[in-house]
Each structure stands twice: as structure tokens, then as C-alpha cells.
């Protein structure tokens, strides 16, 4: 959630007699202040002699007194704001007195601010003797950075006056100034910036106008508290703000597809108030987190997001892939707490019956599956509830679901049938990213069962760290392009050449590396969180020729 508040600020140009201090480069004072920061935040003659060895004691006292005069520290030697600034920038204020041309603006966000200052030449102080009251009195002792020249930094030390009332000569100006205040709720930061134009002296003694140069600054607002206040105020007309979820509960009807998918919307507000910083008009609040107002709305919302995903992806999707997409599009979102339900297969394809491409994309993979789809997979999937326990599967099959809590060691042991293989091949298009951590577990689990067994990896080259895999397995991975050319396989395969018996392979609907750890640490026997995975044990003759060739050693 983010918004930008804008307001125009009037700029006043006034000639004022003032005592100023220009920030100039003084590395020795910067060193002194930095040393003071290290040893107790105080500038003392002893500290001066320590920093400047060889200086006499009176000299050291003079230096300390000069620091007090410059305002780097107080009378007690305690480091002041200017001292901290000097420590950071090696710059110290050098005082001077005279008549200056001030550009002044004021707002609760920026305070009484001197935007820029120019020295006025002798003779240009006419009128100062009969001053008029200042429209804005700049803050004293604050380091200002000129918006006309970013390198010019200065301090208004005092505004001397005879009558006790500060005054100056008002001058015409073409300067304009706009306050842009960005509130980024998601990031928790606010940044304001001055934009506009201002006069600067030209070569002929006149003025010329140039854009302002201002580094953004922050006032350090608590933005979520602000959002809470707005929720009770201007946002109320758009929905119900949830403090806990930090989102706006809105009706599902009328939401755009993009809003449904991203769970965000833009809200236009006539006027908002930002505490002591005043109110702002015509505010557009972008990316407001939104969520459903009820369970039925959450269900419709979740299915709409699934529909959008299926429409975008197109093609044929297995029931497992549909379930995975539903879980991906719902879990961790503001929909999950409403426990939305993925309808059973028949109900789902009836929902898209008017769209043949989507209908067949869902129906055909189930109707024409090589092995019958598990009944549990076809039933409705309720998120947020108890995950259904995997069904009993016959010999020669394995089935993992999100309810399975198998460790990698357990999976490997079942895949190897308790035997110690000579060689193993994992054929998986995606061995990269998060899967590399699971691959480490897989290799470790294999080593537990068969320390001498070799492991080959065939995978897609794109985005794959072959060196990392080679480091794990000790063998150079083979690319899909090398192994299959253009006829790449869709599914994952684990081929096992046992020490005794016939070679066999596992034909898997998902990667055995698609597992996530539950805790911070993970070991071979640690339970993992799995996605749906069905594996069918097949004899070598039912494998593709490229895979069968691996048994004959026709691979690296």
C-alpha cells in the first residue's frame, strides 16, 4: 500500500541581516568530533591535545573554546548536533555576518525552512533599517542544505535586531515549491521531497530560474497506525479495515481480475489527515491490501484466482497440477483463513464446461491418465483443514501428498526397495533453486543406503548450477538437450540399476526434490513437506529409449 501526498507551499524571498555560518571543510575538527564520539561525546582540552599532540595546554583550551563558539559542543563540551554532523562530514560552520537574500517556506512537514540563501553586496541593504516583519522566520541553529546548490550547507546562527523584532525587506520571487510526501505502508517508510524552481544569480548580476535540488527526507511516521486511523475514517466507505490482517475487507463482486489476482486495489480518497502534519486532498491510495468479507466470498475469490491461473497457463493440467495451483494461489494469502475448497474433479470441469479449451484441459488428463488417478485426488480439496492421509497404494506405486511427512531418507529407501544399487539416475527437468537443498538431502540419503552407488543427474541446462551438482554427486550432469534432443520428457524418472535383479525405473508425476523443510535445520531423517507426487515402478522396456540406454552405460 502506498500513496503520495502533495501540497503547494508559498515561497517568500526576504533580505535579512543575519549571523550565518557556512559549512566548510575542516578535517581536523571532523577528526576531533569523531574522536569525541569514541571517548564519551565530549570535547575537552585533553581530548584536543590527544588528537593534536604537541599542542600546548593553552592552545588546547583555545581550540575547545572555539568548538563551543562554533556550536560543535555545548558549554560543558558535550557534542552537539553540529559536532555530530562535523564528525560525519568533516565540515564545520564558519560564522559570518551580513545581509542575505533568504528564500523561505513553511509547513508542518518541513518546518520553517530556509530553502536557499545568497549574500547580498554592500549597498543592497537599503530598507533593512526599516524592516517589515518576516512572513517566515527560519529555524536557528539547524543545518540547511540549499535547494539551489546542493553543495551549499549553512546555519542561521542568529537574526540580530535593534528593535527586538526581526524584520527584513520582502522581495519579488519567481520561485515555486511543491511538497511531495510518499507514504509506503508496505515498506514502513515515508519520504518527502521539495520540487519546484528557484532563482540563482547569473553572471550579469541578475537572477535566473533553475529546478530545485532536494534530497528526500523523512519524518518517521508510524504508517500502520495512520492506516488504522484512515480505516476508521475515509477508508470506511470502501470496506472494513482489518487491523490484524492490515487489509481492507471488500465485497468480491465488482473487483477487477487484476484486483482478484493480486489481492490489492487502488482507493481514491477526497481528503486524509496525517496527525500534526495536516490534511491533504485528492489522495490515491495504491495497492491497498484487500480480502474477502465472508467465507462464500472467499470461496468465490479463490476459485476465480484458480480460473485466472488456468486460463493463463492453458494446455492440459493433471489433477495434481490443478491441486498444486489451487494451493499455490491460496495458501499464504488472505483467502486461506476462510478455508476455501477446490471442488471435486467433475464439479470443476462442469464449472468450465462452456469453455472447451479449459474443459478438455482439465478433463482429458484425468480421463486419459496412464494409471488411474487416485480417488482422493479427485475429491474436493479443503485448504486450511486437515490434509487427507494418503490412500493405500498397491505394490509398485508410491504416493506422496501434502499430508505426507516422509523424510528424504524414507523416500529414498522406498524408491530403492531396500536394496543397494550400483547406479542411480535422476531425470528431472528442474534441478535448481530450492531443489538443490533437497538434492543434498537426496544424495545424503542415497549415500546412507549405498555409499558406493553413483548418481547421475539429467536436467535442463537453463538456470542450473552444474558445478554445484557435480560437487554433490561427483559426476557431470547431462543436459536434457543431450539426452533427449527435442523430444524431452514431461515427467520425472528415477532409474535404478541394482546389484542383483532386473533394472527398473520410477515414473513420477513430480520431482522427488520438490520438498521443503519444516524446521530450521534439516537432516536425512527430518520430516519434509511434500507436494503431490505419484510414482509408478516400471520395467526397463517401458522406459523411453534414451532412458533405457542409460542401463547399458551409454551415458557419462
Amino acid at each position: 500500500m502506498k500513496t503520495t501526498l502533495n501540497t503547494q507551499l508559498p515561497v517568500h524571498r526576504v533580505a535579512i541581516f543575519a549571523e550565518m555560518a557556512w559549512m566548510e571543510r575542516r578535517p581536523e575538527l571532523g577528526l576531533l568530533c569523531r574522536t569525541a564520539q569514541e571517548v564519551g561525546e565530549r570535547i575537552t582540552p585533553e581530548l584536543v591535545r590527544r588528537v593534536l599532540p604537541g599542542l600546548s595546554e593553552p592552545g588546547a583550551r583555545n581550540v575547545a573554546a572555539w568548538c563551543r563558539t562554533l556550536g560543535l559542543c555545548d558549554e560543558e563540551g558535550q557534542l552537539a548536533g553540529l559536532g555530530v554532523d562535523a564528525a560525519a562530514r568533516d565540515e564545520a560552520p564558519v560564522p559570518e555576518q551580513g545581509v542575505y537574500d533568504f528564500w523561505l517556506a513553511e509547513h508542518p512537514v518541513i518546518g520553517a525552512r530556509s530553502l536557499a540563501v545568497e549574500r547580498l553586496s554592500a549597498g543592497s541593504d537599503r530598507g533593512v533599517e526599516a524592516p517589515r516583519s518576516l512572513p517566515v522566520t527560519p529555524e536557528l541553529g539547524r543545518v540547511f542544505t540549499s535547494v539551489a546548490n546542493r553543495d551549499a550547507r549553512y546555519v542561521v546562527r542568529s537574526l540580530p535586531t535593534k528593535s527586538g523584532e526581526v524584520g527584513g525587506v520582502l522581495r519579488q520571487t519567481q520561485a515555486t515549491c511543491e511538497l511531495n510526501w510518499t507514504l509506503d505502508f508496505t515498506e514502513g517508510v515515508d519520504r518527502w521531497e521539495l520540487r519546484g524552481q528557484i532563482e540563482v544569480p547569473d553572471e550579469r548580476g541578475g537572477d535566473k530560474v533553475r529546478p530545485m535540488q532536494h534530497e528526500p527526507e523523512s519524518v518517521g511516521l508510524d504508517l500502520w497506525k495512520l492506516a488504522e486511523r484512515w480505516g476508521r475514517g475515509p477508508l470506511e466507505a470502501h470496506g472494513k479495515w482489518s487491523v490484524e490482517e492490515r487489509c481492507l475487507a471488500v465485497p468480491f463482486a465488482g473487483l477487477a481480475e487484476d484486483e482478484v489476482d493480486h489481492l490489492e486495489c487502488d482507493v481514491a480518497l477526497d481528503e486524509v489527515e496525517v496527525g500534526a502534519f495536516g490534511s491533504f486532498r485528492d489522495v490515491l491510495l495504491r495497492g491497498v491490501p484487500i480480502g474477502p468479507v465472508s467465507k462464500p466470498e472467499a470461496q468465490a475469490w479463490a476459485l476465480a484466482r484458480l480460473d485466472h491461473t488456468l486460463s493463463r497457463d492453458g494446455g492440459y493440467l493433471t489433477r495434481s497440477e490443478v491441486r498444486a495451483r489451487f494451493i499455490d494461489r491460496t495458501t499464504g494469502t488472505r483467502l486461506e483463513r476462510w478455508c476455501p475448497v477446490l471442488p471435486d474433479h467433475e464439479a470443476l470441469i462442469e464449472r468450465v464446461g462452456d469453455d472447451p479449451e479449459r474443459f478438455w484441459g482439465l478433463a482429458a488428463p484425468v480421463d486419459l491418465a496412464p494409471s488411474e488417478v487416485a480417488r482422493g485426488d479427485l475429491t474436493a480439496l479443503v485448504l486450511g483443514g486437515e490434509a487427507a492421509q494418503p490412500e493405500q497404494v498397491p505394490d509398485g506405486q508410491l504416493r506422496l501428498s501434502r499430508a505426507s511427512a516422509w523424510s528424504m531418507g524414507e523416500l529414498v529407501e522406498r524408491l530403492l526397495h531396500g536394496g543397494a544399487p550400483l547406479r542411480v539416475l535422476l531425470c528431472d527437468r528442474y534441478v535448481r533453486g530450492d531443489h538443490l537443498e533437497a538434492l543434498e538431502l537426496f544424495v545424503a540419503a542415497l549415500r546412507q543406503v549405498a555409499p558406493d552407488a553413483s548418481l547421475d543427474i539429467w536436467t535442463d541446462k537453463s538456470g542450473c548450477n552444474f558445478r554445484f551438482i557435480e560437487g554433490l554427486t561427483g559426476r557431470v550432469p547431462r543436459t536434457y538437450a543431450e539426452a533427449f534432443g527435442k523430444a524431452a520428457l514431461h515427467d520425472r524418472y528415477l532409474l535404478v540399476l541394482p546389484t542383483r535383479g532386473e533394472p527398473y525405473g520410477w515414473h513420477m508425476t513430480n520431482s522427488p526434490l520438490d520438498a521443503r523443510r519444516d524446521g530450521r535445520t534439516v537432516e536425512v531423517n527430518s520430516p519434509l513437506r511434500w507436494r503431490d507426487l505419484a510414482a509408478l515402478r516400471v520395467p526397463a522396456e517401458q522406459l523411453e529409449p534414451a532412458l533405457r540406454g542409460w542401463f547399458d552405460g551409454g551415458t557419462p
Binding site: 494446455g315 492440459y316 480421463d367 486419459l368 491418465a369 515427467d491 515414473h507 520395467p539 522396456e541
Partner: protein, 657 residues
């Protein structure tokens, strides 16, 4: 004896063949009864599936009509998954399928069978009239093959949109389908797959490929032009080889097992049969057939009348043929005399299905080869005759010219008229001799008579030359006599005129000589006189002197001239007559070739006469150094044979037109 022109002669020969036996042949007899389907496994095509569930139907759709069972399943709103091949969609029933709401089709390269699976119930089309019901295991295997083909091999897919199948590229499969094991009851195999079981004791039905190596009890094998030897061997080993095109796939049924192998270009579907199916198909394969394969079949067998026979290498089966007329073509006769007894060196094989064969051919006489040339002998004789004729022509021309000359001389010299008559008689006799020689040229005289003829010709040429010479001599003599007479007359006239002019000329000479002496005197006188002193007198003196000198000089010239003329005239008067022969006249050019007298060289040239005479009949020609005596008519045959033998020539008819 044959008469008329020498031409090709048509001949014929008839051969009976009823006893001939065919070693191996397909025989097509009466058509069998229509196929009847009954029993638990064989079903009439299109019967409704037994399942009453809403389970989806998986179906292989062939290019022809969609099964009514599939249509009814689809129109009931149940899901139907179909695999079709290229070009599917043309049949009207295909459009009916598009009207169903839940039909998903995927296109593959080939669908080698038509079948349908609903859960554990399945049937596959055996032929146009029968489906084979599959058991549960077979249905599962067929489903597995369907899934492999559907997900792995499809290139396009379609579902009905507004009652029309809209095809698009096939989307990617959602999973891999394991390969079908070799032991599966239903399995796609390579296009060259064959039936696996042993043929011995089995019933086999093959639609293509070679026959089995061992003999089954009964072999259904498509009749054709090939494999007859193998089939004969199988028949010899006890196999009954038969055929009817029922549209069945390859089948092997033996005992309680069997297999079917469906036809395909890119792959073949193998179905292993259970005992019930094997029994049902065994019964089907024992039915009577229209085709049978026979060995040692006698053509004249009355039972085979009306049958069709397919012989090895023949493009199709054909019926028996009563008489086959076989045109052998032209047969070259070795000699003219052997033409009517000429036969082909070998007769072509008759149609194996002919009960009799009638061979016809045309005996072609030996003919002069194309590109022949006239024989050198003929040319030599023709050149001799031509030379002969030319010489006689020259003699005729000479005699004609002599006659012209004789007339001219007779007209010019009357004194020679008598002699000219004698010359005319001589010329006439010579002309008669020329005509006689013209009638007998050298070729007519042959090698023996020709030299004598040439001697006669030489003698005749000599006589003609003499005649011309005599004419010439007579004319020259007459001309000379006439010239002499003319010269004498002229001489006499000149002498007489000189003698008459001499006196006058002498007198004139003397007068002038006197005048010369007087002038000499006068001149001396003038010279002797003194030369006057005065100028005019001197001038006159000089004129007188000059005039006297000029007169004297003129007188002396006249004396000399007159003396010379007097001498010449005196010589003329004293001249003696001398005859001067006239200059020879220019050669006469009116006769072609110069003198009309024949040259001696042509008369004395002795031409070489060939040693062989020309043939009496026919034309003698050569080709590739061989002589050919060409005759046109059979009447010339006897004499031509003699002449051909004499001339060592081939006796032939005229060159083919």
C-alpha cells in the same frame, strides 16, 4: 512353278493344348456366401457398446463412416476422445460427430485400426462386416496404446466449435505415457512386423508380404502374380491355400491362441487373441472361398471351365481362351526357292490358358540389302559400251563431214565430179559397217567376242580415215593445177609488156645523157670566167653559177633513174617462167575437234575387256563386298540361279520398299 513378282508369303500352323498342365496357378471359382457374424466375440459392425456408464470413450476413428456406437455415445453428451489420421473429416458422419458437445480429437500420422474402448470394454474392427470384442486385458492394453498415441504422437487437436471441428497444433502432454511392453496384448509395432507364431497346424490369413516358410493347415493369401513357387511348395506340404478379400487383418489362429496384425504404412497393431476369439476366427477362416491355389492343373479339365486363373507374373486373373492366334511376324527365307517352306526358328509360347494356339507368320524372301551399289563388272561393261558407242559416233560424224566435203569439192571443181561419185560409194559402204557394229556392243559379245569387235572397229576407222585423205588429196591437186595455169598467163603478159616499153626508155636515156654533158660544159665556162668586181655583176655571176650547178645535178639524177628503170625492164623482158606453188590453206575449223580425219591414236587404243560376262537375267549389285543378283519375277528364278552361281552372287528379290 511360281509366277509373278517376288513378294512375302503368309503361312500358318495350329497346335492343340488341352493336355497342357499348369504347374502352379490361382483359380477363382464361384463366389462364396456372404459373411455371417455370430458368437460371443465376433459382432456385427456398429453394435451398441454394452457399457451404460458415463465413462469416456476412447476411439480410433478410421477414414470412413464413424461407428453408430461412437456417434450415439457422443450425442448423448458423454466424453469421446478420438484419434484420427490425416484427411479425416471428409465423410458426412464426421460432421455429425462435430455436432456432439464433448468430443476431443487428436490427429496422428496414421490410424491403422478402427476401435473403441470404454473402461474395460472394447471392440476393434476386423473387417467391413465384423467387429471383434476384446476382453478386459486386451481393452486395457488397447487403452495403453491409445494413450501413447494420443499424448505422444498427435500433431493437431480439435474440438467442436459451432458444430465444426477447429484444428490447432496439439498442446503439450500433461504427462508421459510409458512405452507399451513387447508382451502387451495390444501393441503398435513397426510397419514390417510379421505374425509371430508357428504356422504349422494353424490357420493363417495374410494380406501382404511373403508367404510363411512353413505350411499351415490353411493359408489365406491374396492371389497375385508372385510367390507361386513358394505357395506351390506349401501346397505340396499339405497347406490349403485360399483367398477371399474379407478385409481382415493378418491372422494366425492355432489351438486356443492366435494373433491379429492390422495393416498400416507407418506401423501395425498387433492383437494377441484369447481362446474364444481364436475359436471364432478359426471358424471364420475355415469358410469356403472363391479362390484356391492349385498345382498340376490340366487345362482341358471340364470342372475348370468358366473359372479364372492367375498365373505367375500375370497382371490379373484371366479365363481360358479357346484358340489363341499368335502372330509370329516375318520369317526370313534362307533362299528364294525355299520361301514356301520357311518356318520360324522357334515358336513363341502360347498363352498358358489357351486351349489351342494358331501361329501365323509371313515368309520373307531374301532381299537385296539396303545401301547396295552397282557391281563393278556392270560398270566396266557399261563403260566399254559407252566408249564403243562414242567411237562409232565419231566415225559417223566423220563420214557425214566427208560427205559434206565431197559435195563442196564436187561443186567447186567440176573436173572432179567423176571422182566424187566414187567417194560417195565408198562412204555408203563404210556407213553400213558402222551400223553393223552399233548393233553388237562389247557387252553383247562377251569376254570372248569383244576383242574381235574392236579389231573390226579399228579397221573401219582406218577406212574412214583413208576416205577422208583421198578427198583431201584430190582437192589439193586440183587447186595446184589451177594455180599453175594462172601464173603462166601472168608471166607471159609481163614479158611482153616489158619488151614493148624498152625502146622508148633507151631513147629518153640518151637524150638526158647529152643534156648532162652540155650542162657540165656550161658550168665549167661560168667557173672559168673572171669574177666581176662590181657588186651587182658579182651577184649575177653567182646566180648563174648556182643555176648551172642545180641544172647539172638534176640531169645527173634523171640519168641514174632512167638507167635503173631500163635495167629492170630489160630483166623483166628476159625473165623465165617459174611455177610457185600456192601457200597451204588454213586448217578447216568447221569440223569439231580439228581435222575431220580421225586420229590414229583413238583407233589404235585397245580397251581391257572384263573376264566375266554380264548376267543374262537380273541386276548384279554389291553390298559389303558381296555380290547380289536381283530378280523381280519368279520366272527368272531358274536362269538366275545359274547366273548367280557363275558370278558367285547371292540370289535375292528386289530391295524392300
Amino acid at each position: 512353278m511360281k509366277r509373278g513378282p517376288i513378294e512375302p508369303m503368309p503361312l500358318a500352323f495350329a497346335e492343340p493344348r488341352e493336355a497342357v498342365r499348369l504347374p502352379a496357378v490361382w483359380i477363382c471359382g464361384d463366389a462364396p456366401a456372404a459373411l455371417s457374424v455370430r458368437g460371443a466375440w465376433l459382432k456385427a459392425r456398429g453394435a451398441e457398446p454394452r457399457s451404460v456408464t458415463d465413462d469416456p470413450m476412447l476411439t480410433f476413428l478410421g477414414p470412413d463412416e464413424v461407428e453408430s456406437a461412437v456417434l450415439s455415445w457422443a450425442t448423448a453428451g458423454k466424453r469421446v476422445y478420438g484419434i484420427v489420421g490425416p484427411g479425416w473429416g471428409a465423410h458426412a458422419s464426421h460432421k455429425h460427430l462435430a455436432e456432439a458437445p464433448r468430443v476431443l480429437l487428436r490427429r496422428v500420422a496414421e490410424v491403422p485400426a478402427t476401435a473403441a474402448v470404454v473402461r474395460s470394454s472394447a471392440r476393434i474392427r476386423l473387417c467391413d462386416g465384423a467387429d471383434l470384442r476384446l476382453d478386459a486385458d486386451q481393452a486395457a492394453a488397447l487403452r495403453h496404446s491409445f494413450l501413447r498415441l494420443f499424448w505422444h504422437d498427435a500433431t493437431e487437436e480439435a474440438w467442436s466449435v459451432q458444430r465444426r471441428f477447429v484444428w490447432r497444433p496439439a498442446a503439450g502432454r500433461p504427462y508421459d505415457v510409458p512405452m507399451v511392453p513387447v508382451s502387451a496384448l495390444v501393441r503398435w509395432e513397426a510397419p514390417d512386423a510379421r505374425l509371430e507364431g508357428a504356422p504349422v497346424g494353424a490357420l493363417m490369413h495374410l494380406t501382404a508380404g511373403p508367404p510363411p516358410e512353413a505350411a499351415p493347415d490353411r493359408l489365406w493369401f491374396p492371389p497375385g502374380p508372385t510367390h507361386h513357387e513358394t505357395l506351390a511348395a506349401l501346397a505340396g506340404a499339405g497347406a490349403e491355400v485360399v483367398w477371399d478379400d474379407l478385409g481382415l487383418p493378418d491372422l494366425r489362429v492355432g489351438g486356443d491362441a492366435g494373433e491379429a496384425l492390422f495393416t498400416g504404412v507407418l506401423g501395425r497393431l498387433r492383437l494377441r487373441l484369447n481362446a474364444g476369439q481364436a475359436s471364432a476366427l478359426g471358424e471364420l477362416l475355415r469358410r469356403p472361398t472363391s479362390w484356391r491355389f492349385g498345382t498340376g492343373v490340366r487345362l482341358g479339365d471340364p470342372e475348370l471351365q468358366g473359372s479364372r486363373f492367375w498365373l505367375p507374373g500375370a497382371p490379373a486373373a484371366r479365363p481360358l481362351e479357346d484358340v489363341q492366334t499368335i502372330e509370329v511376324g516375318d520369317v526370313q527365307a534362307p533362299a528364294l526357292r525355299d520361301l514356301d517352306s520357311t518356318r520360324p526358328a522357334s515358336l513363341p509360347a502360347a498363352n498358358p490358358l489357351a486351349l489351342a494356339a494358331l501361329y501365323t507368320w509371313t515368309a520373307v524372301p531374301p532381299r537385296l540389302p539396303r545401301g547396295s551399289e552397282e557391281a563393278p563388272l556392270v560398270r566396266t561393261w557399261r563403260e566399254l559400251d559407252a566408249g564403243w558407242k562414242a567411237r562409232l559416233g565419231e566415225l559417223c560424224a566423220t563420214l557425214a563431214h566427208a560427205d559434206t566435203e565431197r559435195s563442196r569439192i564436187g561443186r567447186a571443181f567440176e573436173r572432179l565430179l567423176g571422182a566424187m561419185l566414187g567417194f560417195e560409194r565408198t562412204r555408203a559402204k563404210l556407213l553400213e559397217r558402222v551400223e553393223a557394229l552399233e548393233a553388237t556392243p562389247p557387252s553383247a559379245s562377251g569376254p570372248d567376242g569383244a576383242p574381235m569387235r574392236y579389231r573390226e572397229l579399228d579397221a573401219l576407222a582406218t577406212a574412214v580415215a583413208k576416205l577422208c585423205g583421198d578427198l583431201d588429196a584430190a582437192e589439193r591437186k586440183e587447186i595446184e593445177d589451177r594455180e599453175r595455169e594462172a601464173q603462166e598467163v601472168s608471166w607471159r603478159r609481163d614479158v611482153e609488156r616489158a619488151a614493148s616499153e624498152l625502146p622508148a626508155l633507151r631513147k629518153a636515156l640518151r637524150a638526158r645523157e647529152a643534156e648532162e654533158q652540155q650542162l657540165e660544159t656550161e658550168l665549167r665556162a661560168i667557173k672559168a670566167a673572171n669574177k666581176p668586181k662590181d657588186a651587182p655583176a658579182n651577184k649575177d655571176h653567182k646566180v648563174k653559177l648556182q643555176r648551172a650547178a642545180d641544172d647539172l645535178k638534176r640531169a645527173r639524177r634523171d640519168v641514174i633513174r632512167l638507167s635503173s628503170e631500163l635495167d629492170a625492164l630489160q630483166s623483166k623482158a628476159d625473165e623465165v617462167f617459174v611455177f610457185e606453188p600456192p601457200q597451204p590453206t588454213l586448217p578447216r575449223t568447221s569440223q569439231k575437234g580439228g581435222s575431220f580425219i580421225p586420229s590414229a591414236s583413238s583407233a589404235s587404243a585397245a580397251p581391257t575387256v572384263p573376264e566375266e560376262a554380264l548376267p543374262v537375267v537380273g541386276a548384279l549389285r554389291v553390298h559389303n563386298s558381296d555380290r547380289y543378283l536381283v530378280i523381280d519375277d519368279w520366272e527368272q528364278l531358274a536362269q538366275a540361279e545359274v547366273e548367280a552361281a557363275r558370278l558367285a552372287a547371292h540370289l535375292v528379290g528386289p530391295e524392300a520398299s
